[in-house]
């Protein structure tokens, strides 16, 4: 059985999506169309589509009241923007000075050779985009390569093939049964201290965590995997990705809410007491895998 490890950055980007004007307008809305917001707006569009589609740039120019050439200028000036769609996997080879003196150019060449593309290009099958970056700030570990958000340090050219293979298989995949990093926790309600564990329904072969949720005038149960590090869930109602959900204790019916906001997305965090000590908090937004385990 394989599962995503949730704590890591997801490098996956969506490719070749149709540009939805509503989405662009939504992004613009959040940034109140202020002049200075252009870069932030473009960053968000890029995060959504993996690149800056022409149609999106036109919409932005129209809505912000700036000439298209201005928007195009900004979009092409900065390194992190791309007008071309990117592959499923992004490989960034650091060419900072420290990596350079430790042989990074050879690593970049080896990737180019094995992928059959030059830096800045995407493989024809749209699996890989290869880019070189100026410095990732992990200089003590050079040469450094980042693939889909995972750092690889002290790379040698002989390791390149293995890295490409691993990326194809998916770097976020791990074996739940064997991995020491994945372990079950027992949680209870922070208000009534009643156990939230549900033996009757297992997820990932372990008793699940049972809570009640409500969103968008809908109510229902939600079961979470009790494995720390697994983001498997089962829900009575279909919760759309991106939806922020209110959590309740199924016993005392108190809302599970604390003082923390998700460091990634800003949604409220949901606290639960861990048996054995400490508190776990998970983000209340569907699709956001942010969580914290505090031993206090």
């Amino acid at each position: 059985m394989t599962q995503d490890i949730a704590t890591r950055n997801k490098g996956d980007v969506h490719v070749k999506q149709e540009v939805d004007t509503e989405v662009i307008l939504g992004i613009l809305e959040r940034h109140d169309k202020a002049r200075g917001a252009l870069i932030a707006v473009l960053e968000e569009i890029q995060a959504q589509y993996g690149c800056l589609p022409e149609e999106a740039l036109r919409t932005v120019a129209n809505e912000m009241g700036r000439p298209l050439v201005d928007v195009y200028g900004v979009a092409t000036f900065y390194r992190s923007f791309s007008l071309q769609p990117r592959g499923k996997h992004l490989i960034s080879v650091c060419l900072g000075t420290a990596c350079h003196v430790r042989g990074a150019p050879r690593i970049a060449e080896e990737f180019e050779r094995q992928l059959g593309i030059k830096a800045g290009e995407t493989t024809p099958d749209e699996e890989f985009t290869l880019e070189t970056v100026n410095c990732l700030g992990a200089c003590a570990l050079g040469p450094v390569v980042v693939i889909d958000g995972h750092y690889f340090s002290k790379i040698r050219s002989s390791k390149v093939g293995q890295l490409i293979d691993d990326a194809l298989k998916g770097l976020d995949k791990i074996e739940i049964g064997e991995d020491k990093r994945i372990f079950p926790i027992d949680v209870s309600c922070p208000r009534c201290n009643h156990s939230l564990m549900d033996e009757s329904l297992t997820i990932d072969d372990h008793p699940s965590i049972r809570v009640s949720v409500s969103f968008d005038h809908k109510h229902g149960w939600l079961r979470l995997s009790s494995l720390y590090g697994s983001s498997s869930i089962r829900a009575e109602q279909d919760i759309p990705i991106g939806m922020v959900v209110d959590f309740f204790c199924p016993h005392c019916h108190a809302e599970l809410i604390g003082s923390w906001e998700c460091p990634m997305c800003g949604a409220p965090m949901v606290p639960m007491i861990v048996r054995g000590g400490g508190m776990v908090q998970i983000c209340s937004r569907r699709g956001c895998n942010s969580h914290m385990l505090d031993l206090i």
């Binding site: 350079h100 410095c135 200089c139 750092y151 040698r156 020491k180 926790i185 590090g229």
Partner: protein
Amino acid sequence: MPQLSSIDELKELQRMLLDDIHESKPCIVVCAGTACQASGSSDIIRVAKRHIIERRLLDKISLRVTGCHGFCEMGPFILTEPQKAFYVQVTLDDVPRIIEALLSGDYVEDLLYGDPHTGKKYHNRDDIPFFKNQQRAILGLNQKIDPIRIYGYIAQAGYSALEAVLSKESPEWVVKELKRSGLRGRGGAGFPTGLKWELLAKQPNGDGKFLVCNADEGDPGAYMDRSVLEGNPHSIIEGMIIGAYGTGATEGIVYVRNEYPIAIKHLMVALRQAREHGLLGGDILGTGFSFDIKLVRGAGAFVCGEETALIRSIEGKMGEPRQRPPFPIEKGIDGKPTAINNVETWANIPLIFRLGADEFAKIGTKGNSGTKIFSLVGKIKNTGLVEVPMGITIKEIVYDIGGGPVGKAKIKAVQTGGPSGGCIPAERFDLPIDYDSLTEAGSMMGSGGMIVMDENTCMVDIAKYFMNFLKGESCGKCFTCRKGTQRMYEILDDISKGNGTLEQLDLLEELAHVVKDTTMCGLGQTAPNPVLSTLRYFGNEYERHVVDKRCDAFVCRDLVGAPCQAACPLGTEVWRYIALLEKGEYEEAYKVIRASNPFPSACARACDRKCEQRCNLGTSGGEAITIRALKRFVTDRVDPSVYTPMRVVREGKGVPRVAIVGTGPAGLSAAHYLSLLGYKVTLFEVEEEPGGMLISCIPAYRLPQDVVRKEVESLLDENITLRCGTALGRDMTIDDLFTDGFKAVFLAIGADKSWQLDLEGETLEGVYSSMEFLKAFNLRGRELAGGHVGIIGGGNSAVDAARVAIRQENVQSVTLIYRRTCQEMPAYAEEVEAALEEGIKLETLVSPVKIRYIEAALKEGIKVETWVSPVKIYAQNGRLVGIECIRNKLGDVDSSGRRRPVAVPGTEFSISLNTLIVAIGERPDSDCLASMGVDLDKGGKPRVDARTLCTTRQGVFAGGDLVTGPNTVVDAIAAGRKAATVIDRYLRGKELRELPKVTLPEVLIQPAEASDEEPGEAARAEPPTRPAESRKKNFAEVEMTLSAEEATREARRCLRCDLEFTRRENAEGNRVAVRKE
């Protein structure tokens, strides 16, 4: 969380948190900075949590996740409190052991950081040299704070500076105090921060003013700003609030580069927490003063580190700089007054107001107060972030904190200041680190990158690297920057490819000055620095590239080709014979070896393997191919007669005759190649047998004499006459040779006169030079050593002597005495290891001060009766019984990049010895040459034109050890071969000098089918050796040959660097395409 509505409430909170700290439990601290996360610290944290929860340890132990501690290379690591044990490079399985040990107050010895030299374990992190020699005023807080919890910061006196300022001081006082602290901008230019604040404070406060934290840390190789942002974001926030109070600024912006996701995340969390606690926003702590900070993410443009470009980027435009004035301090973001400071500058503000300006100014030097964080990276042992007071020397940073070079390659420069800075050569490492000294030296402080470069770093390549970076990052607004950086890059590219000319070097310099003088912003004005500073300090490297077409660092690929071939003084096509071996074509492989080397079997045993040192497999972090063992495999298997050299046949009597003095590898090689060219050669040898060092000095267990004899014999043909027992100076002169009709003379008499210790008593019986000792045994079978033997020296001849001695019949023990540590021994490491295996003791950091002969020994009360036969000694003016030694410690780094041994008075001790062998180096025995018209230098070496081997006397050439001093077999062969070429040109009346040319691999040998096994990952096949026990007291060859299977597997590991050149025209191998089929 409570909103703090007054200063008193903040004080109360602080008091509460401090009380908490006092009753604290043992704690394990794990860094989750970017570098440690890259090494897997997130997993370590998970497993630690798991262990604590599952073992119900929460009452007994706590866990703190922090930002960067600086020693990034050692990650992931665990620091324990209160022990301060520092466990490095821990794995998931280590975590429970560490937790349990901490609970019982123990240490997990094997995981503690150990000194890479001595293996000494440190139980307290603060004793580790990397940390001990730093002053961590800013970085030191990182280990105490969980960056996403504001209480952690407050508990460490965070926000107390703000509290003090807000409760009792005026804004004017704040600016004045900062000016008194002498803080200068840490972004690189060093503008006084207090002055900047004063200027901002004076601006009219109409529509508001901006404070900006410039966290667009774009210098490649620098990451200290990121570590501060990640590890202690509240210190930036506190600094900015104090700044706003002092200057009347209303809005703050932190401009962070997008490549730092963790820094962005931590800063966002910190800003939110500060706001929730009433530390940011309206009416801060009930004082009526308002200020808020916004985070703006950069989108990847180096030029945005320049302040006017940064402002435009914040405004949502292209980040092009603009002309100043007006300065941002008058017209900045949206035309409002703006002051921009760097991350590290901001982090210093709370410190200054906590310590007081006067205390702060005591750190560092006058005019350069405070500490500076550097990212010490590149070719250095301890890489990471280091924080030091300003004014300490580069040497202290590189050697005391950084621990010196990684391997044997010498450190030659540090690069500071990123692409705007320059390279500072090792000769100037005494330079104090401050803004002004670095600028004077042609570099600059910059934001703090310090990239260490060693002999394997090519300075032309570095200049080219930066120029490539800058041409890409130039915004293009100024023509001279846009085109100038591009043209400089093109010239550097030409030079690195061997197409450069001397005129281009001048053009490059001129261009650099034009760009410097005619561009608008900091990027352009400093862009030529990497070129100018490398030209200034490393002009010789440029010349080597341009004139000799050589890249001595083996970096510029179009000059190097396959590094194994380029490294070989003979230009042996190593890649080619390894490829042939792999295919099983052993005879062809032999022919390739023999084509460039007349001594293949000798070199298969005694070569110093320059090829292996340069093997790309080794230099890229793996293990080099064991090339010498593969050569041995081929030469052991193939009959030399398969190779027939090409001969030039000269008819008639007019064939010129050449005299060669010395029959070592240099003399014999010269004779061989001259003979192939059809010349008649006479070889003169002082000993009774030809072979030089190969026969007389290299011990038989390394190189059996019959192997040498066979090889020498095969070279002596009908064109060569051998005259043994004839010495130049004793039996003949150079004049005699010319009179006898020789048209040219090649001197190759080697360097076999030993240096002396210059101590009294060196002529005693029992004291020998290594050459005397080795020759007596190798040539005459005499065993000079007996009893307890001491050998002074650390080179190959010292180790050879030691190992020969231990094989001699009457020897009881052998002690090798060397004045530095094993690391600095010039002998081949494997020889030293082998010697130790054979029971040879090693005393390092020891120098002999006095040789005691019998009278002195008796006077000092040493009993010697059991050791010597007194009658004989008296008859021969005393016989050695021992030496007195003194212990050394390592001192300063000397010009060789090694630490100087310094005697420690009072540590004298004696060693009883029956035989002392002095092996501290050799020089040529060349005194007679001076009177024959051949000029000598101080060391007794003939003055020779390195390109033509011409001495000062017409028709007389010299090469080999005679010219270089003691050197390797392969260099001597190369000198002999070159002498043959030059003498041939001389005799034919041609220009002696050859144009330098680059040799690149030419012959395409198809690689074998790719196997499943990753080629580079297999272990290096070390040749088998005879076990130490069975090799004592005999001279059987120690190293044996690889089996066919081992050799083939080893050959398969070769990266085949040649294919890049031989397949250049062909379509390149495409693994992905292959897989898809």
